[in-house]
């Protein structure tokens, strides 16, 4: 079993995991923010005079989601540089 782990470490499975994790996080974040953008555009189309309010709410929600995505990216970076 230890030889298996040594072999996996040799071929860099940790780095592969970190890279895949960062990629999956990007998919999740873009899906989320895409949905926000889409519903914001529909809402502005329905009621153009509230465009300002909708725009600022959209930006806040996108920033919060990006925060979580960056959190995952930092974890992956830590795996690459400390593992």
């Amino acid at each position: 079993m230890t030889t298996l782990f040594v072999l996996l470490a040799e071929i860099g499975l940790g780095s592969l995991g970190a890279a895949l994790g960062a990629g999956l996080t990007t998919i999740g974040a873009s899906l989320g923010i895409g949905k926000i953008g889409g519903s914001a555009m529909e809402a502005i189309a329905r009621q153009p005079e509230s465009a300002g309010d909708i725009r600022s709410t959209m930006i806040i929600a996108a920033a919060l989601i990006e925060g979580v995505a960056f959190f995952a990216v930092i974890t992956c970076v830590l795996v690459i540089f400390l593992g």
Partner: protein, 364 residues
Amino acid sequence: MTFIHKVYIIALFLIVSCSFPFYSEGSDLVTEGEAVENEKSSFDAGKFVVEHVTDNHEWHIATFGHTHLTIPLPILLYSKNSGLHLFLSSKFHHGNGSYQGFSLGEGKYEGKIVEVSPTGEVVGTPFDFSITKTVAGIIFSSILILWVFLTVAGIATSNVQKAPSGLLGLVEPVILFIRDDIAKSAIGEKKYERFMPILLTLFFFILLNNLMGLIPLFPFGANVTGNISITMALALFTFITTTISGNKHYWKEIYNPEVPWWMKFPLPIMPLVEFFGLFTKPFVLMVRLFANMMAGHLIVTVFVSLIFIFSHLMGPAAGWMISPVSILFSVFIIILDILVSFIQAYVFTLLSALYFGMATKEHH
């Protein structure tokens, strides 16, 4: 804009962007003897990028060929063996040799200052209170903020009945925006005034340091908010303020929330989740600001270093061809980063205000 103006702009852009490959050295064969003099014979992209976005004990301004134009910053160390030491970082001569028993660490101690015995062995690490590049950046931005806001306060108090003029006209709409849209809506009409100083300080400190990190000229280029210690300190301010100003209702919500009894009694699930929530909220504030700023700087540095990588790999011609693309993309990322700076300062302040509001909310 007439046609000749457009030609001028494109020509200027091409000249500026194609001047970058002149600084790279091409791929030379390096013999043992030349390795000592020709220190830039191979381009280590990882090291170049990391050096440019992290903290440093000297302020590097430019490099012309082999001469580095840097400003040495003071190093202040306290060692348990030999007490207080204060000297300029130029005494370290970029890592060769030790001074007063200290030298720049290598390997395990990369990036830190270590204490060495006379034989050269590492004895320990002293407490490092040096004025590094980030600290010098903070000092400069604090001086700038103090100057701007003391001037503005003087204008405001001396012209009470008149319309704002000068610097006040720039700053007052922003302060009113923070007061109305962030503080009053998150904290409420009755209690928002207590928190206005810290909210304003957080917003303007983060905004100015974000923007200053994007300007490459001295004394502006220090990457202050892309340093996790700085954002940790800012998040700690928010955490301490919410903890100190939490009223009885706030603590009751955490330790005895109004949820079904089986979530609290045999295993205190909800109190535990709420307790961890106390710490994750400032933690996420810290990571969000740090990662956004660090990512912007990292991308710009990587795209500029792409020019040098291409030069070393495929000769200077490849470097010339990649330069316009690289510079265009870097400019685009910097413009995006200006937008991100404003958004991140606004989000940090808004979330801090929301946490203050939750801490002081009355039981309805």
